[in-house]
């Protein structure tokens, strides 16, 4: 019964959070602020995606920004191709291609004339890249810190390729001067309510669909894999397939977040899939609570929010990084399950749990003592 009560409480909590982010535009009519908040929400989605793979399945993906960046580029390519001719250069070519002496639109740019294709690609490309990495990594039983290293290395490689292929990707500058997305008669201007709502609704959907996913049997098996990967193999599950699935799912969601990010920022840049942002995602997730979807999202919003206001305040101009680092250490040390565990604490759940563990370990110690004495007597 407590199980049902917990589930209902959780649903209520998620609903409250979604309601809170959805009403923001009713109180804020400053486009600049809304744009900033939309950015935080996009980071929330990105952090939620990492929570699926790291928090629920134990796969620490330090290259989470790969999906984010690729999604962002997919959207930017589609918008670039629709930019009015003045910015698009001769013969419908994007301006940076003209500057780089590219004669014709490269084949992989062509399908991005279609929004439907671009949006599908924004999720499919990250998922396919993740699948290929996962296909090498998971069946080989690579896990833990090695996955982290490999994903980080992939991030660096893909980042270098994008910067290096300037004629096709815009190199260091990324893809800039984009038109605004118009879909179903709605114009998603970066500073509009529409874009904010798009981010807020996406985050809400991700939260509820994510909740359904982690409560499915597949979600349960992933959590079992997180706890004891080898044991799960002995029940007959193909652990590698489960790991790769959540790895791809997480990448696809990150890709969607990346597309939104292009709308919010009005450009795509190689910094979107660089090491700093990728590591930031891990910090957001850890601060908010990696084993909670809403916790991870909240972590991103709180950290980037505090970061934004600190770095905007002249008094903290030089010290905000230090303050953030200190906060991070305090939270990770004292709240290993993140800020979200404050709610559990408030509901008095953990304390009961602690007492039970303590009692259990006393019993276990006594037992192992006595069995050792027995075997010594043998």
């Amino acid at each position: 019964m407590t199980r049902n009560r917990d589930a209902i409480l959780r649903l209520v909590g998620y609903a409250l959070f979604c309601a809170a982010i959805l009403v923001v535009p009713l109180f804020v009519d400053n486009g600049y602020l809304l744009n900033k908040f939309a950015r935080y929400l996009v980071f929330g989605i990105l952090s939620l995606a990492l929570s699926l793979s790291w928090g629920y399945a134990g796969i620490l993906n330090l290259g989470q920004a790969v999906g984010f960046g690729l999604g962002s580029y997919c959207m930017a390519m589609a918008l670039k191709l629709r930019t009015i001719p003045i910015q698009t250069g001769a013969g419908g070519l994007p301006d940076f291609m003209v500057w780089n002496n590219v004669q014709a639109l490269p084949w992989f740019w062509v399908p991005f004339h279609s929004y439907a294709f671009a949006i599908a690609a924004g999720m499919a490309v990250p998922a396919v890249v993740a699948f290929l990495i996962g296909w090498f990594v998971f069946p080989a039983r690579v896990s833990g810190v090695y996955v982290a290293i490999i994903t980080l290395a992939m991030l660096v490689v893909i980042n270098l390729v994008i910067i290096d292929q300037q004629p096709y990707t815009g190199g260091f500058n990324g893809i800039t001067d984009l038109t605004t997305l118009k879909l179903f008669g709605i114009e998603f201007d970066a500073y509009s309510d529409a874009t904010y709502y798009l981010a807020a609704i996406t985050l809400s959907l991700c939260l509820f669909l994510g909740l359904a996913f982690v409560n499915s049997k597949t979600g349960l098996i992933l959590q079992a894999i997180r706890d004891d990967e080898t044991r799960v193999w002995y029940f007959g599950y193909n652990v590698a397939a489960y790991q790769n699935f959540v790895f791809c799912l997480s990448a696809a969601i990150a890709g969607f977040a990346g597309m939104l990010y292009t709308l919010v920022m009005e450009f795509a840049s190689p910094t979107f899939l660089a090491v700093p942002i990728s590591l930031s995602i891990v910090i957001w997730c850890a601060v908010g609570g990696r084993a909670s979807l809403v916790g991870a999202a909240l972590g991103a919003i709180v950290v980037t929010g505090v970061q934004g206001s600190l770095s905007d305040t002249p008094a903290f101009l030089d010290t905000w990084m230090l303050i953030m680092g200190g906060l991070f250490i305090v939270i990770v040390l004292f709240l290993p399950n993140g800020l979200i565990s404050l709610i559990d604490l408030a509901l008095g759940k953990r304390r009961r749990g602690r007492a039970a563990t303590a009692a259990a370990s006393v019993v276990a110690i006594e037992r192992s003592e006595s069995s050792r004495r027995q075997s010594a007597a043998r």
């Binding site: 499915s216 597949t218 959590q223 079992a224 044991r231 029940f235 039970a356 259990a360 037992r367 069995s371």
Partner: protein, 252 residues
């Protein structure tokens, strides 16, 4: 049914960087049998179970399960063919509730996509709750497994194997750390399982072994030293010799 060989090990050898943990091991087990595997520390009992469940691969020899060669199969395929395993060090999913542990072990569908729609967890929930009752965990179904006592963790592992419902169940020291009373309850459960499952139990507690076993296999230095009923085995001079220094077999 009776007398049908379900599991057969032929001339199995296992080496750990040159050290022969098991060599020339021959073992045959009939369907529905409850076989106990005993032997002094380091005899290779755990390694023998590891080979059967696919955790380590033998450097020589052949394993047949239900007449098919399974020597080279990975562990999850062996599990799918009906081999379940309890490890010497209790391994349960500590962050998951007892109920969820059982749910994971209840693995009728194994695919990622099939299980995506498995929201209606435990249409067989009843069955899982009965299992929890059988091993006395019904009160703690919703507690994380990490909070269980050592004895309860052992019970949970046994329940996991029952939920998995494997034909062949390998248990490594299932009563370690249990009180005498708990051990006897375990013996009762094992006796009830006899016939429905084939069990291979590694155990040091001779009282427990006498309680449950038909046939005992004694291992020593990586091979089978003796095989027979408890009384016969205990009289065997070679067995007594092997156990010298570890206090004798009677109460080993």
């Amino acid at each position: 049914m009776a007398g049908e060989r379900i599991l057969e090990l032929q001339d199995i050898a296992v080496e750990f960087s040159g050290f022969k943990a098991v060599s020339g091991l021959n073992l045959g087990i009939d369907r529905g049998e409850l076989r106990c595997l005993i032997g002094p520390n380091g005899a290779g009992k755990t390694t023998a179970l590891d080979v059967i469940c696919g955790k380590v691969k033998p450097s020589a020899g052949r394993i047949t399960l239900k007449g098919q060669d399974v020597t080279r199969l990975p562990e999850y395929k062996l599990a799918r063919r009906g081999v379940g395993r309890k490890f010497q060090v209790p391994s349960v999913f500590r962050q998951l509730s007892v109920r969820d542990n059982l749910e994971v072990a209840y693995c009728k569908h194994l695919g990622v996509f099939g299980n995506l729609l498995g929201f209606k967890r435990g249409a067989e929930n009843d069955g899982l709750e009965k299992l929890a009752e059988l091993v006395g965990l019904e009160e703690v179904l919703d507690q994380p497994a990490g909070y269980l006592s050592h004895g309860q963790t052992q019970w949970l592992e046994i329940a996991l194997l029952l939920a998995q419902d494997s034909e062949v169940i390998l248990l490594d020291e299932p009563t370690a750390g249990m009180t005498a009373q708990e051990t006897m309850h375990t013996a009762k459960i094992f006796n009830a399982l006899r016939g429905r499952h084939t069990l291979l139990v590694v155990e040091h507690d001779m009282a427990f072994v006498r309680e449950i076993s038909d046939v005992i296999t004694v291992m020593h230095q990586g091979r089978v030293l003796a095989e027979g009923r408890a009384a016969e085995v205990q009289k065997d001079p070679a067995v007594r010799e092997a156990y010298l220094g570890s206090g004798g077999i009677a109460d080993a």
